[in-house]
């Protein structure tokens, strides 16, 4: 009714002349319409209007533009910032960035919100009273460095440097913090990769030898995208690079996108077909499609026989039972549609690609399931081809050469500290291990045992989390500290939100509050996070608009590039960039550490780091800074890297295994596979080509590392997680769901990022709450209506996971329901980023400031909106800031790999009356 009233009011003002001209509008478009306005008497000239605007509008004729790199999420697009009167006023895409092509999403603007946030931390703080009480006093940097430095020095000199834990949530310094931990001698530079993407990186690394940062589809040229729960149009790392390419492919090139999902994500909403599926059934659909492609004779046999390390007949026999009918039963997608789509996909080859990150992988069986989905690309032979699943060489440094030949080397300035020593018998670190852990280490295959670094960096039960590189298992760090698997002297949190955002986050909080387990906790952050609230000392960091960083990642334009983050303005207050903080700590600790931090200005360090890039420009370093990006656009795209010849320097002194034809080269006493001898498909000549960077130099559809890891981790014989061939199985418990069991699935809104954006005022204004979404039919069965309050209770998972199989409830949380068509009937969609209790007034949705930063003098950060005009606060009649979800989600690492199974949460919901 409200809408009709509104129309009537409006009609009073509507001129008849306007109403009569309806028919003209359509025609009017083509004809020049200057002078055709009905109200031409009313005019204002440009100068007068500009003068009438608020005085501080951005004047682009005098604002200074500086290119830098966005830090709104982990994608890191090249941007340009406009600085006026010493303040960053505007951020826009840098068109020279070959990945984003000058595009940005909404999150770029968050940097202005968080840099000028009234509750930003501007001074070092030290707690007074008990840890976690929220009482602080301001201290000087000298005092802070001395106290932290003394603690670290004592730890290092005790012979147990591993008792220093550096745990980050956001570290895009591209190795600078590792320089510090290596120089210190601790392997415990811990991360959150398992929270994010381990389960999908392992299939990539197993198949193709490395994760290439992410899979890199040639989206500009593709004709068919088969999407299994991936959401790049909304909230995926790399999303920005993909979204503009996907939309161009669809709208301009007629590409088709088919999505299997559990809710109408942005990617679903832009798909040509959408099938709501039972959570965790993607792999069943994938295996069924593989069967269809084989049965229909649509396999690219030449590609499979040349590059897959297992025969087609063997795969066919292995997967034959996982048919389209079977997939229909578990997923709900009609078998006929599965067949049709599989055929369409294969017929589009090579201009077709799967898109699996990350929905399909975040399950107990997600690693094996994604290995199955990966097979589709190999079967149709789109790998590395135009329009297919490409494997761009990724960042311009690290990880051994593959596809980076001829690029200028970009590496950290020398001297570089050595890596810490493994925990082998006889070392103090090994002696420190509990007997139970020593027994687990003894069980490991020598491949892992010889490079074991303790349970935090290299958890013995999860060897695949550190087989290729140290992904670690972040969500087990706090339980392991509590269990005594590792000892801690100093725990340093670096822009890290585990206390809020980790599954079962209360475990993290309990451990950080326990001064026996964690004697000293330092938090480095830009505002007062839930993690910082549990610290002994908080150090205020410079924001991304105030500091330097190196940047390089995989390029969806398939030509490697690099960029530089540079400060647009000086840090606010006494905030300091991480490089200065760690440099000063290293100098205080001494003992040789200081020599790795021999720079006065941060810029000098990066100038040295980038000296070979500067050499590419006639204007050197200044010209690189002026552009922000380097790429050689004349370079060939990274298609079919595996067919390229082995680089000359690798051929010298190489040996060839006569059976496998793998080419090996010895370097520093280590035998390394560098290529494979293959018959040229045209000439029949034998040629040394690079192949894939796997042990067999082929695509490892069959991978013996899985059974080896299963044996090392002590998994029961025959456990499907340890299968050498991609294998389909179900999350334990999903096969015996009760009628009213639902699956709680988390998601991220497009305006939010990793639990660190709820204090961005304009983004919080768009999404500040997180009511759950359920299907109207589910609601009807349960007697629920829009807006009803419910209690959601999550059970402990079954299977071989943390506390797996213990019959208990993890927790309950109350929230309101919102009915939404398109959500799968078994699914509860619960968004991340709600329910903050720190991060200041905006994130807490309150009309007053109460964090420790509020008491600092900071005239420069006055904001008319914050906090009086936060209209969504409960005090102002709004919904508030939503429900705290993460405490009730179980710590649930998948076997061997440790990726968090975010989408396996079996729950019940009950109406609160």
């Amino acid at each position: 009714m409200k809408q009709k009233d509104h129309l009537l009011t409006r009609r009073d003002f509507l001129k008849m002349g306007g109403a009569l001209s309806v028919g003209v509008a359509g025609l009017g478009l083509a004809a020049p319409l200057f002078g055709n306005f009905n109200d031409q008497k009313l005019r204002i000239d440009l100068e007068k209007f500009i003068a009438s605007r608020k005085k501080d509008f951005i004047d682009y004729t005098r604002a200074k533009a500086v290119p830098t790199i966005c830090f709104g999420c982990t994608t890191h697009c090249g941007i340009v910032g406009w600085v006026q009167d010493g303040k960053v006023r505007r951020l826009e895409g840098n068109p020279l960035d070959p990945n984003s092509l000058g595009n940005t999403c909404s999150k770029v603007h968050g940097a202005i919100s968080f840099t000028y946030y009234p509750e930003r931390l501007l001074y070092p703080l030290k707690r007074v009273g008990k840890r976690g009480d929220g009482k602080w006093k301001r201290i000087t940097w000298e005092e802070a460095i001395e106290e932290i430095g003394d603690r670290l020095k004592a730890c290092r000199e005790s012979g147990h440097p591993e008792r220093f834990i550096f745990h980050y949530g956001r570290d895009k310094t591209k190795g600078f913090t590792k320089r510090f931990t290596n120089a210190f001698g601790t392997p415990n530079r811990l991360n959150r990769r398992s929270i994010c993407s381990s389960n999908r990186r392992v299939p990539l690394m197993s198949y193709y030898g490395r994760d290439f940062e992410w899979e890199t589809q040639d989206l500009e040229n593709t004709k068919y995208i088969l999407n299994f729960g991936s959401n790049p149009l909304e909230a995926y790392q790399g999303g920005m690079y993909m979204m503009h390419r996907i939309q161009r492919a669809r709208v301009d090139n007629g590409a088709k996108m088919v999505s299997f999902e559990v809710r109408p994500s942005a990617t679903v909403n832009c798909s040509d077909e959408y099938f709501p599926v039972m959570p965790g059934s993607d792999a069943a659909i994938g295996f069924a499609m593989a069967n269809v492609i084989i049965d229909e004779g649509l396999v690219d046999k030449a590609f499979w026989e040349r590059w897959a390390n297992v025969s087609l007949s063997e795969i066919k026999a292995h997967i034959k039972d996982w048919t389209a009918e079977h997939a229909e039963k578990v997923s709900g997608v009609p078998a006929a549609d599965i067949r049709r789509i599989a055929i369409e996909f294969a017929q589009a080859a090579p201009h077709c690609t799967t898109m699996t990150a990350r929905g399909s992988a975040k399950h107990y069986h997600g690693t094996q399931g994604d290995r199955g989905l990966r097979m589709l690309d190999v079967l149709v032979g789109n790998v590395g081809r135009e329009g297919g699943l490409c494997l761009s060489s990724g960042r311009m440094w690290g990880g051994g050469k593959y596809g980076q030949d001829g690029l200028p080397a970009v590496s950290q300035p020398k001297p570089r500290p050595p890596k810490p020593k493994p925990f082998t018998p006889g070392t103090p670190a090994y002696a420190d291990l509990p007997e139970g852990v020593k027994a687990k280490v003894a069980r490991l295959d020598s491949k892992w045992r010889n490079r074991y670094y303790g349970e935090l960096a290299t958890p013995s039960e999860y060897p695949l989390s550190w087989n290729w590189y140290g992904m670690k298992v972040g969500q087990l760090v706090h339980p392991y500290i509590r269990e005594g698997r590792a000892k801690v002297d100093v725990y340093m949190s670096y822009t890290y939100g585990a206390a809020y955002g980790y599954p079962e986050a209360k475990v993290c909080r309990e451990v950080l509050l326990d001064e026996k387990l964690v004697p000293f906790h330092v938090a480095i952050d830009i505002d007062y996070s839930e993690q910082a609230a549990l610290a002994d000392i908080i150090l205020p960091e410079a924001t991304s608009l105030e500091r330097w960083d190196a940047h390089s990642t995989n390029c969806y334009g398939l030509i490697p590039y690099t960029g530089i983050r540079q400060p647009l303005v000086e840090p606010m207050g006494e905030a300091r960039p991480i490089q200065i903080i760690l440099r000063d700590l290293a100098r205080h600790i001494g003992g040789g550490m200081e020599k790795y931090f021999d720079f006065d200005k941060v810029e000098d360090f990066y100038k040295e780091w980038y000296k070979n890039i500067s050499a590419q420009f006639p204007g050197g370093w200044e010209e690189f800074k002026r552009r922000g990006i380097w790429q050689d656009p004349s370079r060939a795209k990274d298609y079919q890297l595996y067919e390229r010849p082995v680089p000359k320097e690798d051929v010298v002194g190489a040996t060839i295994d006569p059976e496998t034809r793998v080419i090996y080269r010895e370097k520093k006493g280590k035998k390394r596979a560098v290529g494979i001898v293959m018959e040229d498909p045209v000439t029949g000549e034998m040629k040394a080509v690079r192949g894939f960077p796997t042990p067999s130099r082929k695509i490892q559809v069959f991978d013996p590392v899985f059974p080896l890891a299963a044996q090392s981790a002590g998994l029961p014989d025959g456990d499907p997680n340890g299968a050498a061939l991609p294998t389909l199985f179900t999350t334990p418990g999903f096969d015996a769901l009760e009628d009213d069991d639902l699956i709680l699935t988390t998601f991220k809104w497009n305006v939010h990022t990793q639990g660190r954006s709820s204090q961005w005022k304009y983004h919080a204004e768009v999404i500040h709450t997180n009511q759950i979404f359920i299907n109207p039919k589910t609601a009807e069965r349960m007697g629920l209506r829009n807006g009803d309050e419910v209690e959601i209770t999550v059970k402990r998972p079954k299977g071989l996971t943390y506390r797996g199989g213990i019959d208990e409830v993890v927790g309950s949380v109350r929230n309101t329901v919102r009915l939404l068509k398109g959500v799968h009937e078994r699914v509860v969609c619960f968004a991340h980023a709600g329910g903050h209790w720190e991060h200041g007034a905006v994130a807490r949705a309150e009309n007053h400031e109460s964090g420790p930063a509020a008491k600092n003098g900071r005239e420069s950060l006055l904001d008319a909106d914050v906090s009086a005009d936060i209209w969504w606060s409960k005090a102002r009649g709004g919904t508030g800031n939503g429900a705290r979800m993460n405490d009730v989600l179980p710590i649930n690492p998948s076997p061997l790999v440790g990726g968090q199974n975010w989408f396996d949460n079996i729950c019940k919901i009950r109406k609160v009356t």
């Binding site: 409200k2 409006r10 003002f13 509507l14 002349g17 306007g18 001209s21 003209v24 509008a25 359509g26 009017g28 478009l29 083509a30 020049p32 319409l33 306005f37 009905n38 109200d39 005019r43 204002i44 209007f49 009438s52 608020k54 501080d56 509008f57 951005i58 004047d59 682009y60 533009a65 505007r90 826009e92 895409g93 940005t104 202005i112 149009l233 979204m243 503009h244 939309q247 109408p264 942005a266 679903v268 909403n269 590419q616 050689d632 004349s634 497009n750 305006v751 304009y762 983004h763 768009v766 009511q771 609601a779 919102r818 009915l819 398109g822 909106d865 005009d869 936060i870 209209w871 102002r876």
Partner: protein
């Protein structure tokens, strides 16, 4: 390495302001919109729009015919027959040479007649300033040849800005080629904003306000049709 590309952001100094278009307007291609809010948040940052006010907004609409969501960016339509302009008692709302409708803040006395008159809900009251405010096509940018902030921030090419009075302007041609139509054409105000793949049901669905308003805070996805 081939010749270095030019640096587009360095060409603005000493540029003279002008409004050379015959009829400035937007074309919004709904086939490309992903609902990312880059336009709306970019607009707020650029124009320092207070919390609770919106010059530009993106609405999420549940489709009546499927289980998906459609996205609808909305801004001032810069109507050729602008009801706000007629309704303003102080003549604060005027038109510029290229047809854009603007509010002269110096003359606005905050009576809200324009807000009631607008069929598109495109005008808000800045409570602190006591003035009405709305999209002015980022005159401070467009008079220098830059795109409006929303267009410059759109990652998918959904929003386009150009001279609809020039039949050969690429944006005009793009609009014609794809049968662009105004939103709520029946309101009869002859907007200068044209939508590609706009569907009739959206007129009803998007009758009021912004995606999330202070008055209606519960709604994230707006429903169409009957209450579920």
């Amino acid at each position: 390495m081939s010749q270095l590309p030019s640096i587009p952001w360095e060409r603005l100094e000493r540029r003279q302001r002008s409004l050379p278009m015959k009829r400035a307007g937007f074309v919004i291609d709904l086939r490309r919109c992903i609902g990312c809010h880059a336009c709306s948040i970019s607009c707020k940052t650029e124009n320092d729009v207070p919390l609770g006010g919106f010059r530009n907004r993106v609405r999420y609409l549940e489709r009546p015919d499927s289980d998906r969501i459609s996205y609808l960016p909305l801004l001032c339509m810069h109507c050729q027959d602008a009801p706000c302009l007629e309704a303003c008692p102080t003549s604060a709302i005027t038109r510029m040479a290229d047809g854009r409708v603007v509010i002269n803040q110096e003359q606005c006395c905050g009576m809200k007649a324009c807000i009631a008159a607008c069929p598109y809900g495109a005008i808000y009251l800045d409570a602190k300033a006591g003035k009405a405010d709305k999209c002015d096509m980022c005159t401070h940018r467009t008079s220098l040849g830059l795109d409006p902030a929303c267009v410059a921030s759109c990652p998918t090419g959904t929003l386009r800005f150009g001279d609809l009075g020039d039949a050969n302007h690429p944006v005009t041609r793009y609009a014609q080629e794809h049968g662009a139509k105004p939103f709520k054409e029946d309101a009869g105000t002859r907007p200068s904003v044209y939508y590609i793949r706009h569907e009739p049901w959206m007129n009803e669905a998007a009758a009021t306000g912004v995606q999330i308003t202070p008055e209606d805070d519960e709604i994230v996805y707006e429903q169409t049709g009957e209450e579920l």
